[in-house]
């Protein structure tokens, strides 16, 4: 089995506080991974480490078989949509695509423009004039058109209204199915994850509480008898309760 992300003893300390400790993960390739946990559990820290935006204080992390943030090739293999989906306010949608084309070695310009047209993003509009949902779509377009092996999404829908949230997630599912693309997607809402994910990582208090295939997790809990989770939501809530 090939792994898209492997961490061993991974930890990150900010000044005095450990945002992530003793993180061991082996995430298989080709999965859509949901990373859930309460606010401040370390989700953003883990994803930033995977994207190479942070360097670990302890342990190691390997993404797509390489060292995160190490060189052009590695950057091209990982698409990243940061929290609050940052874009350049004063640059137009078309400018953002030009930026992606000039900076990404495996850029798919056709794909990018098809998406922009289909989503109805006005090419001449500045990113600052777009709605939150449109900005998130623009950021996702940049990350997908890079043709990455791994797409990392850090709470991309956190600031969107319910309708824009549903549209974004449905579009994400369409864009990623059948592409052989691995996705790691964080959220503090299980309902977001439930729509798209087949692999689950639960993070509580800077630690990995559980990681595994969604089907297997659900099945194992049914067998254990005393808890009978009806849904992923119940399963996750169970893990969060244990962590208290």
């Amino acid at each position: 089995m090939t792994f898209i992300m492997r961490a061993s003893g991974l930890g990150k300390k900010y000044r005095r506080r450990w945002a992530l400790t003793d993180c061991d993960l082996d995430v298989p390739a080709g999965r859509v991974v949901g990373l859930v946990g309460p606010n401040g559990a370390g989700k953003t820290t883990l994803l930033s480490l995977a994207a190479g935006l942070l360097t670990p204080t302890a342990g190691t992390i390997e993404v797509c078989g390489g060292h995160p943030g190490g060189g052009r090739g590695q950057l091209a293999r990982v698409g990243f949509v940061a929290q609050d989906t940052p874009t350049y306010r004063r640059l137009s949608v078309a400018d953002h695509l030009t930026m992606g084309r000039r900076l990404s070695p495996r850029w798919d310009d056709d794909l990018a423009w098809r998406r922009v047209r289909r989503l109805g993003l006005p090419p001449r509009a500045r990113a600052g004039q777009l709605s939150g949902g449109q900005r998130a779509q623009l950021a996702l377009t940049l990350a997908i058109a890079k043709r990455p092996e791994l797409l990392i999404l850090d709470e991309p829908v956190a600031s969107l209204d319910p309708l824009a949230r549903r549209d974004f997630l449905e579009d994400l599912r369409e864009a990623t199915t059948g592409q052989g693309l691995s996705v790691v997607h964080s959220s503090h809402l299980v309902s977001d994850i439930e729509r798209v994910c087949d692999y689950l990582i639960v993070l509580v208090d800077s630690r990995v509480r559980v990681a595994g295939d969604v089907g297997q997790l659900l099945a194992s809990h049914v067998r254990s008898g005393d808890v009978r989770p009806a849904s992923l939501e119940d399963l996750v809530l169970g893990y969060l309760e244990e962590g208290r």
Binding site: S48, A51, G52, L53, L54, T55, G69, G71, R72, L75, V78, G79, F80, A82, Q83, D84, P86, T87, Y88, R89, R90, L91, D95, T98, M99, G100, R102, L103, S104, A139, L142, A143, K146
Partner: protein
């Protein structure tokens, strides 16, 4: 990456370069007339200059002094700080490496800052050439109106020649460095302005006078050369050296020790200009009071310019290294 750096920068570049272009046209139109007046009337043409020329002389010099500060404040300080502020660095750094990203931004905007400063400065140096030459030819005596300062004077030195290139490079990279440290745009801009102003004052008062060992001289205190008498009797003089910059001076007594002249020296200049009490100055000289001055002669202008430019470029390079190191460790 250069494309992105240029795309983000072009509006700001247009504003400053547009302003410089307008000023350059005004200088180009009026410059030849200034030169022909000087040829016709010699140094006394300073008395015939209209308000427009006086205004351009003042505004042009101030503009050259302002360009480095503007480049530091509006181009340097926000260069990285605005991205950290808006979170867009997290977009850029997953598309391209931080080192390339910083190198493109520092290189492009830094070169634009240096070019803006040196182009305007050279235009102003050419335009004000006749005026600067006329002021320098007055043997240390001030000219009419605002035409009193030789180009070695601290108020004018930074507005002529090549040294604004060094200032612009330094102010720009200093702004970037402060922006990275403070991580917020507005505080970084304010801090840059304060630190740059202090650097400029220290350079003009402490470093520049000693870049080349100043010439020491002892001169008599005469009615013609006196420029200032303080309330306690301390005096300042000028020296008959065309265009020289008097960096420091003090009075010594007959024994050659630093001293304050007797208080009656206050009466020496007389009630109105041209009615000074010659006997009073003669008595001062008889008692052995003289002025020890240290100065930089006019001929050292370009040496001092080159030295100071090199110092500032060196500082800018060092700060550029600091920026690269800090950006690699930012999160």
């Amino acid at each position: 990456m250069t494309w992105l750096a240029w795309r983000q920068f072009r509006t700001q570049a247009g504003v400053l370069y547009g302003g410089i272009a307008i000023l350059a046209v005004a200088l180009a139109v009026t410059g030849p007339r200034l030169a022909s007046m000087k040829r016709a009337d010699g140094a006394s043409f300073l008395y015939d200059l209209s308000g427009a020329y006086t205004g351009l002389y003042l505004f042009g010099t101030l503009a050259v002094l302002a360009v480095p500060a503007i480049a530091g404040m509006f181009w340097g300080a926000p260069l990285v700080a605005r991205e950290l502020d808006a979170g867009t660095h997290r977009l850029a750094w997953t598309l391209t490496s931080r080192t390339r990203w910083l190198a493109a931004k520092l290189g492009l905007v830094g070169l634009a800052a240096m070019a803006a400063a040196v182009l305007l400065s050279l235009a102003m140096t050419w335009w004000a050439g006749p005026i600067d030459a006329a002021i320098a030819s007055r043997d240390g005596q001030p000219g009419p109106g605002i035409f009193v300062l030789p180009r070695l004077a601290p108020e004018v030195f930074g507005g002529r020649g090549v040294v604004p290139l060094g200032y612009a490079a330094f102010a720009f990279v200093l702004g970037v460095t402060i922006g990275i440290a403070v991580r917020r745009t507005l505080p970084a801009m304010a801090l840059l302005l304060a630190v740059f102003a202090v650097t400029q004052v220290v350079m003009a008062t402490v470093v520049r006078p000693n870049l080349i060992a100043p010439v020491q001289a002892t001169v008599p205190i005469t009615a013609a050369d006196l420029t200032f008498i303080g309330i306690s009797g301390n005096v300042n003089v000028t020296i008959p050296q065309a265009g020289a910059w008097l960096a420091s001076q003090h009075t010594v007594n007959a024994a050659g020790e630093p001293a304050t002249p007797p208080s009656w020296v206050m009466q020496c200049p007389g009630s109105s200009p041209g009615h000074s009490n010659q006997a009073c100055f003669a008595r001062l000289a008889r008692l052995g009071y003289r002025q020890e001055v240290s100065y930089q002669p006019a001929g050292r202008f370009w040496y001092l310019q080159a030295d100071e430019t090199a110092i500032y470029l060196g500082l800018a390079l060092g700060l550029g290294g600091v920026c690269a190191w800090r950006v690699r460790r930012l999160s």
